[in-house]
């Protein structure tokens, strides 16, 4: 299988938003190894924030292609995240490939697949693969957590500005004598002492 670009959910959701609500877009998202479908909910939340519309999460386990088609067309304009492909046969993918025009809809379709699922799609549904084009991404980590180095830098800036050190801040917080400013709340969180707020 080719290497696909890894993008955080935020960036993938933004790409969907840029294409517009009625984009007829198809995306394939590959869950990071070992995460399976655990990443669906945060991705759906990210997508909702950008689109202003809650995406429909549809587990297609046990569906025939006709079931899938009728679900996708009712309604035809909401964003849908499809799950449950991982145990499906090559024959099922071939049926989707043959009937792909019946699956077209104005709302976006996101296939949530494992690496194995993508491999099968590429093998048994080449027309779907072609329709998706370059919109295949591995869902990356969130990555917005502050690093220890960033924390240390912020603590240095606070100490220099207020001319206090971390121990003094903790002592004042324990004595309930910390100044009221919000910067001191941040200081305590940076020190891992949010319990003193």
């Amino acid at each position: 299988m080719a290497d696909f670009a890894q993008k955080p959910a935020y960036e993938i959701a933004r790409r969907l938003e840029v294409r517009g609500q009625q984009s007829y877009s198809w995306f394939i998202l590959i869950a990071p190894p070992g995460e399976g479908e655990a990443g669906v909910e945060p991705f759906a939340e990210e997508l909702e924030a950008f689109l202003g519309r809650e995406p429909r999460v549809l587990d297609i386990t046990g569906f025939l292609v006709d079931d899938l088609r009728s679900k996708l067309q009712d309604p035809p304009d909401d964003p849908v995240i499809l799950l449950g492909f991982n145990e499906r046969s090559g024959e099922f993918w071939s049926s989707i490939d043959v009937n792909r025009s019946g699956l077209e809809r104005s709302g976006g379709i996101i296939f949530w697949l494992s690496a194995k699922g993508v491999s099968e799609l590429c093998t048994y549904a080449p027309n779907v693969r072609s329709f998706v084009g370059g919109s295949i991404f591995v869902v990356g980590r969130e990555g917005s957590e502050m690093s220890p180095e960033e924390r240390r830098g912020r603590l240095r800036d606070l100490a220099a500005y207020f001319r206090m050190n971390d121990d003094e801040v903790i002592r004042l917080a324990e004595a309930r004598k910390l100044p009221a400013e919000p910067e001191f709340v941040e200081w305590l969180v940076l020190l891992g002492r949010g319990d003193l707020v």
């Binding site: 945060p42 957590e145 924390r151």
Partner: protein, 177 residues
């Protein structure tokens, strides 16, 4: 005739109302707060054509105590940095928002520091303190610094997005209308 005592009495009454109103600002989860805040900023960035990298500059800390801190830009604005949100007008923004996890997530405190462009670099800072002060006349819980660190004017208990609305649509856009 108004005296400092009556002014303090009125300030106390106002601060108590703001404190109650601030307690009503809640979120379903810290994650949805963060995601929606980032999406809000991204939409503003796209609209302005500002080209800030929100994914890189909006940072978060999940404290074990249940506090959740969202930061953009430096803790103290001591001049421009690469981590500020930059406006095409030349203005810059930094902020910090702290929530407390719970069945519903409560707003604990925030600071939004907006600096106008130009040699004077006038600033406006919107602060929500974590708790009321004993002298709410000089230190209202929710206040605006209109370019002076020691001047705090009381404002309603604005949510973080309501503060950003004032920054994007009043402070930054207003002078260009």
């Amino acid at each position: 005739m108004s005296t400092i005592e009556s002014a303090r009495g009125l300030a106390l009454r106002l601060d108590q109302a703001v404190h109650r109103a601030a307690g009503e600002i809640v979120y379903d989860s810290v994650n949805s707060f963060f995601i929606n805040l980032r999406a809000y900023l991204q939409v503003q960035d796209d609209t302005l054509g500002a080209n800030n990298n929100l994914f890189a500059i909006l940072r978060r800390i999940d404290d074990q105590s249940g506090l959740f801190l969202t930061n953009l830009g430096p803790a103290i604005d001591a001049g421009d940095t690469a981590n500020h949100f930059h406006f095409p007008s030349g203005a810059r923004l930094s902020f910090g928002v702290t929530l407390r996890r719970g069945h519903q997530c409560a707003l604990v405190s925030y600071r939004f520091h907006y600096v106008h462009p130009g040699p004077e670099a006038r600033f406006f800072r919107f602060d929500l303190n974590p708790q009321p002060h004993e002298d709410p006349l000089s230190e209202p819980r929710c206040h605006l610094h209109p370019g002076f660190d020691q001047v705090r004017l009381p404002i309603p208990a604005l949510s973080p997005v309501e503060v950003l609305d004032r920054i994007f649509f009043v402070l930054d856009e207003g002078p260009r209308r």
